[in-house]
Symmetry: C2
Amino acid sequence: MSIITILGAGAMGSGLCTPVRNAGWEVRLWGTWLDDHLIDACEAGKPHPRTNVPLAKGVKLFRAAQLEKALDGADVVVMSVASVGVPKITEMALEGISKAKALWLTSKGFCPNNEGKIQLLPEAIRTIAKQKGISLPPIVAIAGPVKANECAEGKPTATIFGCKDLEVSRKYAREARTDVYCIEATDDETGVEICAPMKNVYAIALGIADGLEEGTGFPHHNLKAATFNRAVKEMSLLGQALGAKAETAFGLPGVGDLEVTGLSGRNKVYGVRIGRGETAKDALAEMDRLEQTVEGVPAAGLASTLVEQSAPQLKEELTLLKAVNEILSGTERPVVKVISDAVLPKMP
Amino acid sequence: MSIITILGAGAMGSGLCTPVRNAGWEVRLWGTWLDDHLIDACEAGKPHPRTNVPLAKGVKLFRAAQLEKALDGADVVVMSVASVGVPKITEMALEGISKAKALWLTSKGFCPNNEGKIQLLPEAIRTIAKQKGISLPPIVAIAGPVKANECAEGKPTATIFGCKDLEVSRKYAREARTDVYCIEATDDETGVEICAPMKNVYAIALGIADGLEEGTGFPHHNLKAATFNRAVKEMSLLGQALGAKAETAFGLPGVGDLEVTGLSGRNKVYGVRIGRGETAKDALAEMDRLEQTVEGVPAAGLASTLVEQSAPQLKEELTLLKAVNEILSGTERPVVKVISDAVLPKMP
């Protein structure tokens, strides 16, 4: 029985326990120093506070101080903390990770290094390891349309594993697969990593289109569909500029994940508020008050910096990314106009 | 001022009047013998019964008997009747069409010829013209995420014009464009024509995934997203087998139109009924009783025949099309299982 140690006991970390446990792995779930209340609930057999679903049976729980024990003998380590915590947890777990056969990555986001350069998370992790002179096993980027609560509940779920070594993606896509958790394999690590944070940015725009119905009394479904279409196109363009395959954005990490993110979730809800007439600033303050983190907001700014640094030829071309940033910074123009100008086809 | 004659005074025909009128065309709207009540409402200045939006100002109305007059001197003729009526209206209007500079086509569907061979509508129209020895102007296939009521209302809308002669697509994409009705141009007539009926089939599957929440008490968003992803993939595969470009399904006619169709509309509503537990047969009877035509139902059967005739190598590969047909024919298996098996990734 292979051993998998999941670092981070939040929604995705705990949700992933269900399929890997059902696939026959020994599963260890390690909580950070911020996760004690989550571990408490799991230990007491209560539903996990973030997914509302009890943890899969037989998962071994570890608290912050037990990191070394949690990692001891792990075949696979999964980085599953919030993206902002990835550098710190990587440093703490580096020795255990280096002894594993693979590092899986469900954390998603853009990570500025000390010089302000925006990196994707695998690059950030590799940089840290290199600085410490420690060699890493292959990284497997995990993405696709996976709401953690449904994954935890064992509902049908499609996901994708992206590792530069396709044989490694395939191996784990087979070994972690269950009847209801089914995994595509790709070698396009970059494509997978780009789509995940970008879809949060674009989900805000989809929410805005939804909110316009409430704000104006008339649906804007055509605009929402054009926005969806444009978002997919821009994920593909940005991915390609950074070395990804065009098709990755047209599959589970792009089209699929944008579908599920635009259907519900906090980025969409935040967009709806703006669409119905709140200012971006007021809407964010209200989300903060409700303790609803809107990942797409910082991601939009970081994406814009990433484009300037690493794909400057796309600066004017990613019109929807630009539009979202214009709206977030408090535009004077009506939001329907800002989105329309960004997503409707240009004169051919 | 160019003259455009729209054949068919239903939702799409009347909706299209708004942008072409605003783009400065002389617009004539001709109603078939089934459309008298629609023309009555428009003449009385009431909202159009199908879109709930008054017809654009300055549109000239023609009744069934005035076809010749409606076509006289038309630069562009638009076929905008239900797909089942296309052969008949083509025959009736053939002379007028032959004198125009282009035939636009908003009707969408599969059209069996007299030998039972399934044709796309442009092919069906060309076959009829050839039989009569009459030559046709270029055909411009029109598709994309366009709900007619929003188009009529002047809400922001993206669409795509597909003509084998790209210069013709481009010309009309420029000439019919307004600030809010914006048109992409492509030479992929086949790609555009394939996506439109197929998205109705796949919208049933999206509806089923939605309905599962009501039927089981638990959302199936991951499954819905995987279904969306699979539908896009299958539209691309089928298109390519018939000579289309892969990318067309990843753009407005595929991803975009599926988004808007899966968001609302009768195919989706029908799917929801099945997802929550009604049999396909009972659900269809209820839709019939409510006078709600579900275009995806006949399209699913015709698509399956089309695949057998023209793309037999895809027969087993289009798993979601197969699943929808299995469900429509009254499967014994739980629908969640039928859809899951069709859309979740296979063992890599």
